[in-house]
Amino acid sequence: MIANAEALLKPLTIKGLTIRNRVMSTSHAPGYGKDGKPQERYQLYHMEKAKGGIGLTMFGGSSSVAIDSPAAPWNQISVADDSVIPYFQQFAERVHAHGAKVMIQLTHMGRRTKWDTEHWLPTLSASIRREPTSRTIPRAMDKNDIRRVVKAFAEAARRCKEGGLDGCEISAAHGHLVDQFWSPSVNQRTDEYGGSLENRMRFGIEVLEAMREATGGDYVIGMRMSGDEMIADGLSHEDCVAIASEYARRGLVDFLNVMGGQARDEMAHAVSLPNMSFPVAPFLYLPSAIKREVDVPIFHAQRVTDLATGARAVAEGHVDMIAMTRAHIADPHLVKKLMEGRDDDIRQCVGAGYCIDRIYVGGDALCLQNAATGREATMPHIIPKAEVARKVVVVGAGPAGLEAARVSAERGHSVVLFEKEPVVGGQINIAAKATWREALSGIPRWLHSQVAKKGVDLRLGREATEADVRAEKPDVVIVATGGMPDPGHEKGREHAVSTWDILTGKVEPTGSVLLYDEIGGHNAASTAEFLAKKGCLVELVTHDLQIAQEVGTTNKPVHLRELYKLGVVMTPNTELTEIYPEGNRLIAVLRNTMTDAEEERVIDRVVVEHGTRPVDGLFEALRGASVNDGETDLDALVAGRPQRWTGQPGFALYRVGDAWTGRNIHAALYDSLRLCKDL
């Protein structure tokens, strides 16, 4: 049992609205919106948290109040007209049925959006100044714009109330329109909306006053804001305290949802959504300071990944509600597990940022380590028991194999899990050796604890042979033997070593190292950082347009920051074509992919990253004896039906994860979950 748990399990009443506990999820934009509406997928995702015991779930991050703040192109929610109200009603019913409260975030993005989409309307802000992240230059709002947007906020608030939502907040954080007015880094107006802080606060005050008027005053309305913009020309902490105090004093807000930083450029954005390189709750001091100045409840989110930290934040009086948004993406049932004394069963967010990184490239939010999140309509968070108990043999205890063993054991099957290494985790153990990526080890740690708890017969240090597998007389064999580094295609590739060799310590290079990457993931970037920290002179070369091209927006800036700090030479748009030895050194031949110009490097080591190739020896050995010739019925897999060989005499053979094809952790887990949930 965690310390101070009782502090989390106390109700909080805001204006007659009683929230059953102090744990919440802040509004975010998982990309589940459809036609600008929160439809079934979006609703089920939040209903799962309600089932899991959360007190308050807030949805619809950056839900738009006006048509010049487009929502639909990013699968977000538009509250700009009444057609959304029935969806809100259905949403509220679903969440309320499980005892939680539900609210939405309303905003106008101002300059933090695009003009070249949906309605092709110009973007707006307090003044004309480009936002680096969106690369948008807005026009300065005139009085008509201000009147129209204020009214739009009011109309949107009315729609929330009519939709049965328990409340709403406006976003005045992450550089949205209200805080664009506040921040001197954007607002250079000379009228009554610019200049002094009092003037800069005016627009937000008008917005909230109009919303109050439209909702009758008894409706819960809060505000998300920064506690310190942390930029030279932005809002200081003192400015933020002054704003919070003034808005609270005027009775405009029923709660304040305080975060740290802002998001106008790549690095600021990454800092405002701290990944695993940050300590937990890095900005807790900001809501704590504001709580001392105002008498409305304070909410806070920002890398509160574990209940113990959340409980401490509430028990020590820093905040009234602790938001564990990404923590709920990893485990929507975490409050229920706390209440049931099963806090050991909580799948803790590792801070990989996979969920949020996907949405900034137009994808849907998915959890690196929980394949059921966001797929509630098809994937169960609680695995139901199978009607017939079977014997399942899983080979390989990396993420795919562990998940296959876990889900099969939850189904009530008898499971044997072979692993040739003395520890579980597979490639994650290698990835986790790279400096701040260490937190990835939480993924196999949880899976290991679950398979142990569910009685899986785990045979570590045992490389399964065909005979070993058949001796178990299995009904199902799942091969999750993972992959081995792809050596690549360069001429002279035998002179190169892999990133695995570096991270596992098999090779300990000194001197100058050329690291060539054709994956664009964390692998090469984190290995480059690892090498540089060990004292090597590193050049990171990639075929891609930029370093770590595939890494998302909350992680890539951290990689780049570290590589810049360590003096790693970054060379994109360049292909490694040949390696050959000269004396006791190596020559790497590079080709600029734009100009075809060739150049050479004289270095001590070449390290390459080409991903993995499946390890399929055991699979091929077993294929002939299996009832399905090792085939997976893809239609059944996608439709959520049992594989058609299920129940036939003999054993069916499947492969999952990188043993099927090298991809990522989420893919490995999803392979196993969707196969095994129907076994």
Binding site: M1, L9, K10, P11, T18, R20, G99, E340, G341
Partner: protein, 641 residues
């Protein structure tokens, strides 16, 4: 009648005179005690039943001891009385009569041998040595002697030389026995009889619950017991009744945990202390485990507790008030009453509590709650559930008393399960919410009678504002206070424990339950439910309805072992060698059960605190909820079949 038979009769007479004198001397010491209202006539009339039924009910749990006592005591009394009656010429001259006398002494001899066999060659630890170890010899000598004399008389003097030897033996044994009357084992005979007549809790012989502590007059010049003279005289008799059989010591959880409490030794210290210039030197049983040093001296007006007295304070605070000693005592001694009387003086007059026990009492005084938490936070555990408040409803069929466990995270789960069940069954219930104060159990057991009485009166005043037919609680401590102890302050309620209530609901079909798949479960009886309130059947009946395989621990029902959570022991926290809950959990594990079913927040907390591999702890309400939730699935399975 032979001359030796005549001499035997006169010996018995002499023994009676010696015994009478010693008994009178001892009885004079009892007069130091305070007056108590005793219905002597009723007591005397009830004596045979109290002895033959109530005492023998306890003695009979050890069949060897029961036979031993029947033979030794019966033979001794019958032989002596018959020998004395031989002075009547008509009887004394009948040879057949002496056959009967010889038979009685033969029975006593057999009893004497059994006493010896039990103690020799190795004395079990629970039995006392010293004078007790000489008892079989004296008994055997007297009985053998009497037998020889009577046998000779029955044969008309044909065994005259043996009769002389017999007479000598009888004289040595008989006078020896008689001299034991004030301080030796034989004291239990007359003090025990007197105790049965003048028992401080006569109701316990009438099948009534007689476990409520007696209210303390808070205006009395001295609160609680400081010296032997502060006890009422009939409690002093009770201490003298102890036969040092050690059954209490075997049952005592604190003793088992190596804490410095041995109920037998405690009673002996109390009994020894009533003499002027008393010492504890004569005691020859097992000591207090890890005994803290004390002077071991006292007197009727000398303090009982303290390092310079008879009893170390740690001994007093080791008690969990579980009543296992009382339950096991064949002499019907009320150990727990004595301990609480002593605690009352320590707490109310001296403020001499264990350091960690003082803060909860302070909080109770100021906040009506031992953790100092706001009363309104008592219902925090139920946030998200609809919890009807009495203040809003005014009346309800059932008033749900939440108790202290409501503040605790683990136990909140139990209460949520119970509330969910009440809702599913459509029970009309309500809680007091912020109006519920602590029931006062902790204060009372820790000797803070003033706080208990205030809490009781305040709670009674609150309850008086509402209409309800029954109080339901999952906390046996609250149940005991509300059902049995509030009565003395004008609060008479029908109080039902959740195990009995849920049993009613399931039996009436208001809670359809599915089977829990034969999981192996063992039920741990809460002391305040089983021993204090005699409720051992309903929880078992209920568990049996859930499709569980129920296994019994070696100690169960009224003879169950405490979890260590009662009597303020968790806050007194007296150091021992082991933890009581670890011992109890060991007994649960030994049954092979996967689940220990509990029915009390204290038991739940104590047993959940046991580390390492062990059965899961689940309250009965949680198990019922699991079974109720399993019900539709089971029904579905039937449909499919």
């Amino acid at each position: 009648m032979t001359d030796t038979a005549l001499a035997l009769a006169l010996l018995v007479l002499a023994m009676a005179v010696v015994a009478g004198a010693l008994a009178a001397r001892r009885a004079r010491l009892w007069r130091a005690g305070r007056a108590a209202r005793v219905d002597w006539l009723d007591g005397l009339a009830a004596l045979p039943k109290r002895y033959l039924v109530d005492v023998h009910h306890v003695v009979g749990r050890d069949p060897y001891a029961a036979r031993m006592h029947a033979l030794a005591a019966g033979g001794l009394l019958a032989g002596s009385a018959l020998a004395l009656a031989g002075l009547v010429p008509l009887l004394g001259n009948a040879r057949l009569y002496w056959w009967i006398v010889a038979l009685a002494f033969a029975a006593a001899l057999a009893g004497g041998f059994m006493v010896g066999r039990r103690r020799l060659p190795v004395k079990p630890a629970r039995l006392s040595g010293g004078r007790f170890q000489r008892l079989p010899l004296l008994l055997a000598a007297y009985a053998a002697g009497g037998f020889l004399v009577a046998l000779d008389a029955s044969l008309g003097g044909a065994l005259r030389p043996f009769a002389f030897v017999g007479l000598a033996l009888a004289a040595v044994g008989g006078i020896g026995l008689a001299r034991q009357l004030d301080r030796g084992p034989m004291r239990h005979a007359f003090a025990g009889a007197a105790h049965l007549v003048a028992h401080p809790r006569p109701d316990r012989f009438e099948g009534k619950p007689a476990t409520a502590l007696a209210p303390l007059d808070l205006d009395a010049p001295r609160l609680g017991v400081a010296t032997p003279a502060d006890f009422t005289f009939n409690r002093l008799i009770g201490f003298d009744a102890c036969i040092q059989c050690g059954r209490c010591e075997t049952a005592c959880p604190a003793f088992a945990a190596g804490q410095p409490l041995n109920p037998k030794r405690l009673i002996q210290d109390l009994a020894a202390a009533i003499q002027p210039n008393a010492t504890n030197a004569a005691y020859a049983g097992s000591p207090y485990p890890n005994a803290r040093p004390v002077a071991g001296i006292g007197g009727p007006d000398k303090p009982l507790v303290g390092t310079g007295a008879m009893i170390h304070p740690d001994t007093l605070w080791s008690c969990t008030t579980c009543r296992a000693c009382v339950e096991e005592c064949p002499m019907m001694i009320e150990h727990v009453d004595a301990i609480v009387d002593l605690r009352r003086f320590q707490t109310l007059e001296l403020g001499a509590l264990p350091v960690k026990a003082a803060p909860p009492l302070m909080e109770l005084r100021y906040a009506d709650e031992p953790g100092g938490r706001p009363l309104g936070a008592r219902t925090d555990f139920a946030a998200g559930l609809t919890l009807p408040l009495m203040a809003a409803k005014g009346e309800a069929d059932v008033l749900l008393w939440l108790g202290e466990g409501a503040y605790e995270l683990r136990y909140g789960r139990t209460l949520r399960a119970l509330i969910t069940l009440l809702q599913k069954a459509g029970v009309d219930f309500a809680v007091l919410g912020a109006e519920e104060r602590d029931c006062g159990d902790l204060a009372r057991r820790l000797g803070d009678e003033a706080t208990f009485q205030r809490l009781a009166r305040d709670n009674i005043a609150t309850l008086a504002r509402y209409r309800f037919s029954r109080i339901l609680t999952a906390d046996p401590h609250a149940l005991h206070a509300l059902r049995n102890e509030y009565r003395a302050f004008g609060g008479a309620y029908e109080v039902v424990h959740h195990s009995a209530f849920l049993d009613e609901l399931v039996a009436a079909g208001r809670l359809p339950v599915g089977a829990l798949g034969g999981a192996r479960v063992t039920y741990h009886d809460p002391c305040y439910l089983g021993r204090y309130n005699g409720e051992v059947d309903a929880p078992r009946r209920l568990l049996d309805r859930l499709g569980l395989e129920r296994l019994e621990m070696e100690r169960s029902g009224r003879r169950s072992m405490c979890c260590g959570g009662g009597g303020g022991a968790p806050v007194s926290d007296i150091e021992g060698e082991r933890r009581i809950p670890d011992i109890r959990m060991g007994q649960a594990s030994a049954t092979g059960a996967a689940i220990v079913a509990v029915a009390c927040p204290q038991c739940s907390a104590m047993l959940e605190g046991v580390t390492g591999a062990r059965p899961d702890v689940a309250d009965i309400a949680e198990l019922v909820l699991m079974a109720v939730e399993a019900a539709p699935a089971a029904a579905r399975a039937e449909t499919l079949a």
